[in-house]
């Protein structure tokens, strides 16, 4: 092993039924460095971390750690903790109802000679730990009284006090404001100087350049590269994450569509949702395909949720076909002719135990109202039509949706919205975790729908996919709509978009 190396993971392979999540992935973490792990959805970041911390067991590959004999196989997070690998997640894994001191010492509280918990010693020790790390808290207060940032720091302090040498921070900054992030970074630098290796997963590019020393980029479950921060400027990083190589499927979109603008379908002014997305404007014309681009967590999903009314907007106004509309719940939006395919298929899309047919007619039924049941014959007809049209691979229309593959589930959800024949359709990551063939099919369908006059919002982590389908792109960064790119002056190029996403310095 090279000097100074703390963790070395090589040729890691991990498969789930039907999916290769990691293939030939690698990761090297050195002592006293902050190492960013970057990649878009499905890149395999969290999988590789879980393989390291023992949540998953890898299929093959080697993991070595400085000072530990041989190949490491962790079977649980406890195993990992015992050899000094600790993880702090975005949702703090502590008990909010206990004091800070207790959270630091739970399961290993100091006891006095009668075996009772010695609160005095515990509080003193806890205060010392926090003071050493320069975190100002009253350790006797309950954790829930403190901000998420402090809670995360407490989690980190706990890990440090348990002699962790490898600290994994999984998107710790997603819900912090700038000041809190600064505090967290100060702590991270302090730990780095003490020789702890920190693996930092984040979506915020700014932060990577502010605090990290090295970057490992992953894409599609594979290792792309390991760079020092200096040798990888922002634009290159974005390129590495999104992947530059087109698979040369001919552009499906005919040149010039979307040039002539129809009437405005939906227009939003100054809408926002407290805590997730800053005020934004948005316009889509009839028959237009508009893309929302930006990295994961940039606010692209939050924006469409606001428009659709899945989260209620607190400010601004929304117009549809020139009329001001008020959406209090998704049903209102559906009745107005909107549709929304959510990004989290499992949590918000599929009704797992219901059949393909029932899943398809659900939104249509909701629009008609409970007392106007879609007749059995009509249900069958609609289901069969979309199964044929979208070539959904299912044994029959009465098969539970949970038995289909991911791609086919997605098509069923798409069918659910198409069945309502919406004027305005929002597709949030419709192609995530789907094989190439299905992806192309869905893209083609989007173009076809637009040609028939439907307005479609398309969100994807894959840039090329957006370029292929959209005529206009809104760019999102850090919860803000920062501008748009159109194809008025010739086709949109990847470079253009990456520059816009990366923002900041143009190095």
């Amino acid at each position: 092993m090279e000097n100074n190396v703390l963790i070395e993971m090589r040729n890691i392979r991990k498969t789930f039924p039907g999916v290769v999540a990691l293939d030939n992935a690698q990761l090297t973490l050195r002592k006293g460095e902050i190492h960013a792990l970057m990649g878009e959805n499905g890149a395999g970041k969290s999988t590789i971390i879980k393989c390291l911390t023992g949540v998953y067991e890898r299929d093959s590959g080697d993991v070595f750690m400085d000072g530990v004999e041989g190949n490491i196989h962790n079977h649980s997070t406890m195993d990992a903790q015992n050899i000094g690998i600790a993880t702090v997640y975005q949702e703090v894994n502590l008990c909010p109802n206990l004091s800070v001191a207790e959270n630091l010492f739970i399961g290993r509280a100091p006891t006095n000679r009668w075996g009772a918990v010695d609160w005095k010693t515990m509080n003193k020790k806890a205060q010392k730990i926090m003071d050493d790390l320069d975190i100002q808290v009253d350790v006797t207060r309950n954790l829930e009284n403190y901000s998420i940032a402090i809670q995360q720091m407490v989690a980190i302090a706990r890990a440090v006090d348990m002699d962790c040498r490898v600290l994994i921070l999984d998107e710790p900054t997603s819900s912090l404001d700038d000041k809190e992030v600064e505090k967290l970074f100060r702590l991270m630098r302090q730990l780095r100087n003490k020789g702890v290796g920190i693996l930092f997963v984040t979506h915020f590019l700014e932060q990577v350049y502010e605090v990290c020393d090295r970057i490992t980029v992953m894409r599609n479950g594979q290792f792309v590269g390991d760079y020092t921060v200096a040798e990888l400027p922002r634009v290159k990083l974005v390129a590495a994450m999104l992947g530059k190589d087109f698979d040369d499927l001919a552009a499906i979109r005919k040149e010039g569509t979307g040039k002539e603008e129809g009437p405005v379908c939906v227009g939003c002014k100054n809408m926002s949702h407290k805590g997730t997305i800053k005020p934004f404007d948005f316009v889509i014309h009839k028959g237009e395909v508009v893309g929302l681009t930006g990295l994961l967590g940039s606010g692209r999903s939050e924006m469409v949720r606001c428009i659709y009314g899945a989260d209620r907007s607190q400010t601004g106004e929304e117009k549809m076909n020139g009329k001001v509309i008020h959406i209090h719940q998704p049903l209102d939006a559906i009745k107005l002719g909107m549709g929304y395919l959510p990004d989290d298929r499992k949590a918000e899309g599929c009704i797992a135990d219901l059949s393909v047919k029932e899943n398809i007619i659900l939104a249509l039924q909701a629009r008609q109202g409970i007392f106007h049941r879609v007749s059995e014959a009509k249900q069958n007809e609609i289901a069969d039509r979309y199964i044929r049209e979208l070539s959904i691979k299912t044994p029959n229309r009465d098969t539970p949706i949970s038995q289909l593959s991911g791609g086919n589930q997605q098509k069923v959800i798409l069918a659910r919205w198409l069945a309502t024949n919406p004027e305005f359709l929002i597709l949030d990551e419709p192609t995530r975790g789907i094989d190439i063939g299905t992806k192309t099919e869905i893209q083609k369908k989007v173009i076809e729908l637009a040609e028939q006059g439907m307005s479609v919002v398309f969100i994807s982590s894959e840039l090329e996919e957006m370029l292929r389908t959209c005529s206009r792109l809104y760019v999102m960064r850090d919860g803000q709509n920062v501008g748009q790119i159109t194809d008025e002056n010739g086709p949109i190029t990847q470079e253009e978009v990456m520059q816009a996403i990366a923002g900041g310095d143009k190095s």
């Binding site: 998704p330 049903l331 219901l354 659900l362 909701a366 008609q368 659910r416």
Partner: protein, 350 residues
């Protein structure tokens, strides 16, 4: 053969029908005259009729309970008490407050019964509001009425057993003159038919299952999940009310302490025995109903064997635990692990 058997056991109705057959067989062996139905004084009698008759309340309760279980993965344990409250409310209205035995009604019978049913509906609405709006665990929310409703009933009847010695009031729980079949059977059939029709003709069934399986996704798809949940509890309350009227009419009185006693257990057991998962989601009404009559058959059998009504819950409690243990994912996993271990050992031996 084995495959066929497996496919058969996978059917949702397998469990309730199988248990019903077992219970009936046991009875047949013990008492060959079990299936005999005779005519006496112009009305039918016999064990089977008795089971059908006595099972009416449980079947009606099971209808409501099935919806509640499916939509909220919790159960309404207040149904027994609500039955009692309805009975008390109705009898109080019919007798006039403070009277404990009347031969003449104080108000028309319809008004009294309507009053009782409205009380029951209000109870259901209260449960529904607590569960759907305030997001309180169903069992805790319904626990309030589990003790509260019975107590309110006692207050309504001034701590007495109120007797309604008015012939037509007895019809609901006994016989209508000239008809050989007990009236409760008709009422239960009507409730079941109405609910089946309602589920067939409206999209309620789809909504309930959808909310029960994934309420977030249902909301995104345009279903008002809270509202559906609320109405399921309201319907459950109403069903309890109907059952309460029958129970009260049987003894033409309101005995607050004993009407609907332990019925919540029977109702939940009927749902579980009907092959419905107490974790919510997909449901099968017919299963619950067969389950309900199975429970009644068990109760009748136990009574015939000399087990008192007070003792019967022991057996039922054990059945409930057995069903939920078999349904529990953790238990299935445990079995799978054990089987895997055994296989590994066998392989090593080979």
């Amino acid at each position: 053969m084995k495959a066929k058997w497996k496919a058969l056991t996978k059917q949702q109705l397998f469990l309730p029908i199988f248990s019903l057959i077992v219970v009936l067989l046991i009875n047949l062996i013990k008492d060959p005259g079990f299936f005999q139905i005779g005519l006496q004084n112009g009305v039918l009698y016999g064990r089977l009729i008795d089971i059908l008759n006595r099972g009416s309340e449980i079947a009606i309760l099971a209808v409501g309970q099935t919806l509640v279980v499916a939509v909220s993965a919790g159960t309404d344990i207040s149904v027994g008490s609500v039955m009692s409250l309805t009975a008390c409310g109705t009898c109080m209205m019919l007798a006039g407050y403070g009277n404990n035995s009347v031969n003449e009604l104080a108000v028309p019978m319809g008004v009294g019964i309507l009053f009782g049913l409205v009380l029951a509906l209000l109870c259901g609405c209260m449960n529904g509001a607590l569960v759907a709006k305030l997001k309180i665990q169903p069992m805790v929310a319904t626990l309030i009425l589990y003790t509260g409703a019975r107590a309110i009933g006692l207050v309504l009847c001034n701590n007495q057993i109120t007797y309604i010695r008015y012939e037509p009031y007895k019809y609901f729980g006994n016989f209508i003159p000239g008809c050989p079949i007990p009236t409760p059977i008709f009422i239960a059939a009507a409730v079941i038919a109405l609910m089946t029709l309602f589920l067939k003709k409206t999209a309620l069934g789809l909504y309930i299952q959808s909310v029960g399986i994934n309420s977030k996704a249902s909301r995104i798809s345009g279903i008002n999940a809270d509202m559906i949940c609320f109405w399921c509890y309201a319907i459950c309350g109403l069903c309890a009310g109907i059952a309460g009227i029958i129970a009260s009419s049987r003894i033409y009185s309101a005995d607050s302490n004993n009407i609907g006693l332990n019925y919540e257990m029977d109702a939940i057991l009927a749902v579980a025995l009907g092959g419905n998962n107490l974790g919510g989601g997909k449901f099968n009404l017919s299963g619950s109903i067969v389950g309900a009559y199975t429970i009644q058959a068990i109760t009748t059998t136990l009574l015939a064997m000399g087990v008192s009504t007070d003792q019967a819950p022991v057996v039922k409690a054990i059945i409930v635990i057995a069903i939920v243990v078999v349904q529990a994912p953790a238990f299935k996993q445990m079995l799978a692990e054990r089987a895997a271990k055994k296989n590994a050992v066998r392989k090593e031996a080979a």
